[in-house]
């Protein structure tokens, strides 16, 4: 599912087209360029909703929003890597997993 600028505005309650354009200009939201127009994915819409929540519900100021977004993006990146690491460990034979568990426990 892809969204045009107007569809995103219709989808998110507290959004206006001016706000959306400002956020795109800031680089907080990065829509894809197309042959005729820019378009948004569901990920972009969820991110727009998050920025709305931060700005409206939590009264986070414009200067703090990129800081928060950048930290959230890093957490997502790290969690993704952690997940891949854990699933790699899960596929190891039991003795290997046991020694990893011991190592971690010994350092706690």
């Amino acid at each position: 599912m892809r969204y045009t600028e107007d569809q995103v505005v219709a989808e998110v309650r507290t959004l206006t087209v001016e706000r959306l354009r400002a956020w795109v200009a800031e680089g907080w939201i990065v829509p894809a360029t197309g042959e005729t127009a820019i378009s948004f994915t569901e990920i972009d819409v969820a991110r727009v909703r998050l920025v709305c929540d931060l700005a409206d519900e939590m009264a986070v100021g414009d200067e703090a929003i990129p800081v928060i977004l950048s930290l959230i993006d890093q957490v997502h990146g790290l969690r993704g890597e952690l997940k891949r690491l854990v699933s790699a460990i899960e596929r190891q034979p039991e003795p290997v997993r046991a020694s990893i568990r011991q190592e971690i426990a010994a350092r706690d």
Partner: protein, 315 residues
Amino acid sequence: MAQNPYEILGVARDASQDEIRKAYRKLAKANHPDLNPGDAAATERFSEIASAYDILGDTEKRGRFDRGEIDATGAERPDPRYYREYADAPGGHPYASSAGYEDMGDMSDFFSEIFGARARAGGHPGGQQDGQTIRMRGQDVRYHLEIDFLEAVTGATRRVTMPDGKALDIAIPEGLRDGQTIRLKGQGGPGYGGGPAGDAFVEVSVRPHPRFTREGDDIVLVLPIALDEAVLGAKVEVPTTTGRVSMTIPKGASGGQTLRLRGKGVKTRGGGHGDQLVRLQVKMPETIDDELAAFMETWRESHRYDPRKGMGEGR
């Protein structure tokens, strides 16, 4: 069951609107699902908090709740999909970033080795101080491309002009799915101070085809057949994504019956091909002439059958 909104926000019945707003913001910050990506219960808590504030934050609704005109759920709306739910988006998360592991000493080599290829800056390019010069990886660019159904099935090359004016040849792999992202390494914005270029992410949508649809690796085609073809069987020409082939319709074919053309589907991940599924649709002649009607009248006298046998009684 929905709790009392005053209890959810932890405010007194006679709290001022300002106190309610402050309590709400404090709880929202602590429980927003995107700020608690690993906490499954956060969604539920946050939506409880949000619906409590929906009522108490609005003086009119608060009054109606106090007077018992609306219950604690107020007007419920479906939960939106939170940003964190896309953290594992297939084809890569366009915003996820990894700052790298250079602070981990000897382990940094190990981590770079396994994740290095994936680690990248997202929407916000990260800088790295190297003596006096700043090395910075270039910005990733996103492009949306619409292609035809058949191009996605058979693969194609498309030349597109990126936002920065650069022309790129994009190889559409055989069997591409709608919504898939093609990543072109190093084709994004240029790096600064000798830093590497960003990547180009090409998100591909597939336009529907008037006749063919896709179910996984199979191609589905609805094929109209004539009444006599259904009764007597026939050899007919069927369009496939790679040209026409001839297919045998068995004697006594029914509408809705599916025939399979092996290997005429989409290329699978394993390297094989799916099938083309041909769904038969018996099409009556435009006018039912007297001859046909008269024949059916006599035929049904001696050959009556019940196609709805086995559907049972009632619904």
